[in-house]
């Protein structure tokens, strides 16, 4: 699905505006990384695209039709989102939580079909959580829980995947594994919008990067065009060495710790 964000503005309590006219598009099968300082509006933008929040003005379109035309259930069949934090009040097992990703596809009282079971199984393999299947969601580590919610989003088999800092609690192995999976999925036509702090990882995994600053997009485009020392300085206030890896051909950003003295 193609996501089009048109002139989106948002203010949480009508006073401080968090988004000030954001324009951004994610093509079908495309992936865009949202990067920017804390409080620059990345999470809010994701929550608007997910349908949880309504923009104060402007609109979001999915394949051309406005978000308002979608019911929660219909939206959930196309779009999955993993938030930064998620409360879990009860001792559901990991498998039960992943199976909740099938809710939008199943009838209220329907039993798990073969298709459901296959989707759940595949999602658990992708998220590498098969070994945790019978553990309580509340008895596992933060990183493991993050993988469970990613697994749940995969089980939803969405056309659009929204991720709010999905790799924060993950170890290096799972960060790499996870971003590789995201890249594979976009190859299969899934559109991904992902808020992420690791610019180097983002440059490797997504085809476009949008830098956000104070509620608008400061720069967007291909990693090589966006991740320049000048942009990193103006958006993050950090001096960085930016280069292209000779073998991998991807951009890396190496922040320098001396920026305070500069």
């Amino acid at each position: 699905m193609r996501i089009t964000i048109e002139q989106v503005c948002f203010a949480y309590d009508g006073a401080t505006s968090v988004l000030k006219g954001v324009n951004l598009a994610v093509e079908r099968g495309g992936s865009v990384a949202l990067a920017g300082p804390n409080g620059s509006g990345k999470s809010t933008l994701l929550r608007i695209v997910s349908g949880v929040l309504r923009p104060s003005s402007g609109r979001v379109r999915l394949d051309g039709s406005s978000m308002d035309e979608y019911s929660a259930r219909r939206l959930a069949r196309h779009l999955a989102m993993v938030e930064q934090e998620r409360p879990m009040g009860f001792d559901f097992t990991v498998r039960e939580v992943v199976a909740m990703g099938r809710i939008p596809h199943r009838g209220r009282f329907a039993r798990e079909t073969v298709k459901d079971r296959r989707a759940i199984q595949r999602a658990m393999e992708l998220a590498d959580i098969e070994a945790l299947a019978d553990r309580s969601i509340r008895a596992i580590s933060g990183g493991e829980r993050q993988r469970v919610y990613l697994g749940m989003a995969f089980a939803q088999e969405p056309d659009v995947l929204l991720l709010d800092e999905p790799t924060t609690h993950l170890d290096l192995h799972h960060q790499v594994r996870f971003m590789s999976i995201v890249r594979e999925r976009t190859g299969e036509g899934m559109s991904v919008l992902i808020a992420i702090h690791d610019l180097t990882l983002a440059a490797q995994a997504t085809d476009r990067i949008a830098l956000m600053l104070e509620g608008h997009i400061a720069a967007s485009g291909e990693p090589s065009g966006v991740l320049t020392p000048k942009n990193v300085r103006s958006v993050f206030g950090v001096e960085a060495v930016v280069g292209e890896h000779p073998d991998l051909g991807t951009i890396y950003v190496l922040p320098s710790l001396t920026s305070r003295d500069a």
Binding site: S50, A76, M81, F92, M100, I103
Partner: protein
């Protein structure tokens, strides 16, 4: 967490159905007048068996059978509304009592008794109006401007609103200054099944059926809500709609239960909790199992209430609290923060 117990949930369900049947028979047999078990069949099935004395027949048909059935329904209604509340607020401490619904219902019932002669029509109506008022205040306060529900505000508001309504009830009792109506009100406050009739059963049955069936209808959505309001939305469950429906259904169930049997505590809190420990948190199993267990628990508590000091009767609320509260404290101690 007992994963093995979850696989056995089918057996637990069957066992509970069996327990319900046993409870019905025992509930009829046990009491100040002990009735031989073989007479029970005859009296229920209506055969004019000469063995069954007329007194026993009347006791069975007019006293014990409606009382046992009402006990089952009231216990189910309370346990199911407790399970729904706990799922809705993702908090095992939620119950119709903590949120002030039951206090509101008993104030409404007290008003109906004192000012509308407490007929079987006005009583449930009054209870429902009182319960609805309590819910609207509590929910209105806890529903923030960002359309998210603050659970802490909700529970605090529930405690405060509950205290307010209890005070109003006490004030009404103080005003009524003795008389028959006072004992009526006191009966409702202490809770009991001693006034069960076929009429109260006829009123409660459809309400309980709609309420319990309705909550079960939303079982899957309650599961989704354990992901938080936004998490639920992302799997296609609109949390606002869910809150409205379930608050309505639990208010209905609680008000009906309070109108028929007064305020009987701890069933709504403890039964869903114990069942969750046995079969896990999936509401598609938790709700039917809680309904059956809540019904049995009240029938057994009622048997204790009318035999311990027979022929005098203890208010059944005393028994449920005496059994429920220590057990809850034990769970609290054993499970600690992992409640």
């Amino acid at each position: 967490m007992g994963i093995r117990g979850r696989r056995a949930s089918g057996w637990i369900l069957c066992g509970l159905v069996g327990l319900v049947l046993i409870s019905i028979f025992l509930g009829i047999v046990v009491g100040p007048v002990t009735i031989p078990l073989r007479h029970v069949y005859g009296a229920i099935l209506g055969s004019e068996d000469s063995d069954v004395s007329e007194v026993h027949r009347v006791i069975i048909r007019q006293v014990r059978l409606p009382r046992v059935l009402l006990g089952l329904l009231v216990g189910s209604a309370l346990a199911v509304s407790g399970a729904a509340m706990q799922g809705l607020f993702r908090n095992p401490l939620a119950s119709p009592y903590v949120l002030g619904i039951a206090s509101g219902a008993s104030t409404g019932a007290a008003v109906a008794i004192l000012f509308a002669s407490g007929s079987l029509l006005f009583l449930p109506l009054g209870a429902f109006v009182g319960a609805t008022a309590a819910v609207l205040i509590v929910y209105g306060l806890a529903r923030g401007r960002d359309r998210r529900t603050s659970i802490f505000t909700l529970i605090l508001a529930g405690v405060a609103v509950g205290a307010l309504f209890s005070a109003v009830t006490s004030f009404l009792i103080y005003l009524s200054s003795g008389g028959e109506k006072l004992s009526d009100v006191l009966f409702w406050i202490m809770g009991g099944l001693g006034r069960s009739t076929w009429t109260s059963l006829a009123i409660l049955t459809p309400i309980a059926a709609v309420g319990i069936g309705g909550v079960f209808f939303f079982a899957r959505d309650l599961n989704a809500l354990s992901l938080g309001e936004e998490g639920a939305f992302h799997v296609g469950v609109n949390p606002t709609t869910l809150y409205r429906w379930l608050l309505g259904l639990t208010t209905l169930l609680t008000a009906a239960a309070v109108a028929m049997a007064g305020t009987i505590g701890f069933i709504g809190l403890v039964i869903p909790h114990i069942m969750r420990l046995l079969i896990g948190p999936d509401h598609r199993r938790l709700i039917p199992v809680s309904a059956l267990a809540g019904g049995c628990f009240l029938v057994w508590s009622d048997m204790a209430a009318r035999t311990v000091f027979a022929p005098a009767e203890l208010p059944v609320g005393v028994i449920t609290a005496l059994l429920g509260a220590p057990f809850f404290l034990y769970l609290l101690k054993r499970k600690g923060a992992n409640l």
